[in-house]
């Protein structure tokens, strides 16, 4: 039975399910205990599971992630919170040189079943060093998996699937989604979520154009699609959910039908996820069905500024997506 809850509650509920079921699962991060985490995601878990399994760490991102790697290769299932995604920069060695490499480099003799939760994205006024969308970095690294939920249900399910996964998973959480509410069916166990489920899914269907996004970009895309519908333009909105591996099959199928592709995300455009999606579609059988060149609507190519107007201008807005979609519709008429 689904109940309405916020994304942060949905993530919290997933942790509770996993912790209750599997003694190997533990949480670690800065101020995740009594404080409940910077965004309240781990609220209440310390009281329920105790300080041995809900571990407040020193402000030491390198060892937080490196510790998780060491625990994971010796039989535990750590779930790590970076207080802000930006701080993962202090932990690039354990994430990129260690977690992503060890299974391969040691000839399959170890597995690294760890989850790294990254609260990212802008729109909170926190400016340059607390607002980034760094997912493309991690999607670039063989050995990592990257998932980015857009709904409370997916946040719940993707966390469970990630904990159940034998590989290191980076979970991209947009801070503005934490308070967003939606129906959530709380799962009874880890196994209820099939790790292979995280493919691309439609959030809306329409025959005129295909809009692809992930994470908070999906909400922007859906609002844009509603505005377009008022003009009689029907868009399909696809949610990638997993950025590595990337499931382009549904994108290719949709573009084959609509002939128009728009990709939108908050991260800057250059060498980003959108470029990968466009390249994948252009290089596929959908190429012959394209009526117009694909477009990207991405974060402005500058660090996230502080002033509200500048911050807004840096993050793709609904009207930006609508305008780009209208141009796409006009071009071949």
């Amino acid at each position: 039975m689904a109940e309405v809850m916020s994304t942060s509650r949905a993530i919290n509920a997933a942790m509770r399910v996993a912790m209750a079921e599997d003694p190997r699962v533990f949480l670690a991060g800065e101020d995740i205990g009594v404080y409940g985490g910077a965004f309240g995601v781990t609220d209440g878990l310390l009281g329920e599971f105790g300080a041995e399994r809900v571990r407040d760490t020193p402000i030491s991102e390198d060892i937080i992630v490196g510790m998780a790697v060491g625990a994971a290769i010796t039989g535990m299932r750590p779930v790590i919170e970076m207080q802000f995604s930006d701080f993962v920069v202090n932990a690039m060695d354990p994430l990129v040189n260690q977690a992503a490499k060890l299974h391969f480099m040691y000839g399959g003799n170890v597995t690294v079943p760890m989850v790294l939760r990254l609260p990212g994205g802008g729109g909170t006024g926190a400016a340059e060093q607390h607002s980034q969308s760094l997912e493309a970095w991690f999607a670039h690294v063989p050995g990592l998996k990257v998932v980015a939920p857009s709904t409370p249900q997916d946040a719940h399910d993707l966390l469970l699937a990630s904990i159940n996964d034998p590989d290191p998973v980076v979970l991209v959480e947009h801070k503005l989604l934490y308070k967003a509410e939606g129906p959530v069916e709380v799962r009874g166990s880890l196994a209820e979520v099939d790790a292979a489920f995280a493919g691309t899914v439609p959030r809306r269907t329409g025959g005129d154009l295909t809009i692809v996004s992930y994470s908070r970009g999906c909400a922007v895309a859906l609002d844009a699609a509603e505005a377009l519908a008022a003009d009689g333009v029907e868009a399909t909105v696809l949610d990638l959910r997993s950025l590595r591996p990337l499931d382009l099959g549904p994108v290719i199928a949709s573009v084959t039908a609509t002939g128009r592709l728009l990709v939108t995300h908050e991260a800057p455009g250059p060498v980003g996820v959108g470029a990968e999606v466009v390249a994948g579609v252009v290089g596929s059988e959908a190429f012959d069905h394209l009526l117009v060149p694909p477009v990207r609507v991405t974060g402005r190519d500058n660090p996230m500024p502080y002033a509200p107007g500048l911050e807004r201008a840096t993050i793709p807005q609904v009207e930006d997506v609508v305008a780009a979609a209208r141009r796409l519709m006009a071009e071949d008429d």
């Binding site: 790697v69 060491g70 010796t74 992503a100 040691y106 063989p142």
Partner: protein, 332 residues
């Protein structure tokens, strides 16, 4: 009970055999390299054998180690099969990592070696996590984290000691101080001049020991490990030693004198010293020593011969190999 007790004749023989195995192994690498049969680079620990052998001999079954880019000695001392190590260095399928890792990345997980690491101090945070893991699982294993003097200037060193200190983790940090990073001496790189002294900042007892005296290394490690195992929290040892060879293949030895190298080799060699001490104390006879040398030589000859016969891996071995689970897109 430690696996090896060098104060007994059997233990002395075992320790000497392992030291000679390490030395012969690395000499075999030099030989293969000079004949063009070995590619890549490698970091030799010739001159440092007493550290690996003394420390690993003081461990018990089930104890874990993490190693470094200069890790052949740790690996062999912790029970690795020289033939599978050699196969790894030759890039063959019978290598510990199926030929994917090479010299700097050998892991022998079954024996408790969680892996060498190409990143200076890269294994220090991993060792702390493994120690936490042992404690959370109720196992009384100790983790030994080998690292170099150069690694003590990485942030990871400080973060690892701090976390291990504040959480009381069962880990022995073992600094193999060969007095240089690549070319930079410890004096010029390390404020305060001592790695051991840094332990105090984290509430960890640090001791500096003679890393070329196998008996001393073994005794210090056994004592430290016993304290860690008893729940005393982490320990730190700084074993002073010396590498005779260059840092790696590209080294032209411009940062130290031949005299310095010769004096360590001639006056303080760990193998020579242990042989002399073991014979003087009656643990071994001169014949025993000769027999051990011959044994190590034969062991290595056989290992090389078998390793070169191992096939090279094929490219299809790479497909999906970066992941233990699903590596391709889901079918929705």
């Amino acid at each position: 009970m430690p696996r090896v007790d060098p104060s007994t004749p059997e233990g002395a023989r075992a320790a000497l055999t392992t030291m000679w195995t390490i030395r012969r192994f690395e000499e075999a690498l030099e030989d293969l390299y000079s004949r063009g049969l070995l590619h890549g680079t490698n970091h030799l620990s010739i001159g440092q054998e007493a550290v690996a052998v003394g420390v690993c001999g003081a461990l018990e079954e089930g104890d874990l180690i993490t190693s470094t880019h200069r890790g052949h000695g740790h690996c062999l001392a912790h029970g690795a099969d020289p033939m599978r190590m050699m196969a790894e260095l030759l890039g063959r399928v019978d290598g510990y990592c199926r030929g994917r890792g090479g010299s700097m990345h050998i892991a022998d997980v079954d024996a408790g070696n969680l892996g060498a690491n190409g990143i200076v101090a890269g294994s220090m945070t991993i060792a702390a996590g493994a120690a936490l893991s042992m404690r959370m699982q109720g196992r009384d294993a100790v983790v030994v984290c080998f690292f170099g003097d150069g690694a003590a200037n990485e942030g990871s060193f400080h973060e690892a000691l701090n976390l291990a200190g504040v959480w009381g983790l069962p880990v022995l940090f073992l600094c193999e101080n060969n007095q240089y990073g690549m070319s930079m001496s410890q004096d010029s790189s390390t404020a305060g001049g001592s790695v051991a002294a840094r332990g105090a900042a984290y509430g960890i007892e640090g001791r500096r020991i003679d890393g070329n005296d196998l008996d001393a290394v073994h005794a210090a490690a056994a004592e430290a490990v016993a304290g860690v195992r008893a729940g005393g929290g982490p320990a730190l040892l700084e074993a002073v030693t010396y590498r005779y060879r260059g840092h790696s293949k590209s080294d032209r030895n411009l940062y130290r004198t031949l005299d310095e190298i010769e004096s360590w080799r001639n006056e303080r060699d760990p193998v020579d010293r242990f042989e002399a001490a073991a014979v003087a104390s009656g643990r071994l006879t001169a014949e025993d020593v000769d027999a051990v040398r011959a044994e190590a030589r034969d062991l290595l000859r056989d290992a090389v011969q078998r390793a070169v016969r191992s096939p090279e891996p094929t490219v299809d071995d790479l497909d999906g190999a970066a992941y233990a689970g699903r590596s391709t897109a889901a079918v929705a």
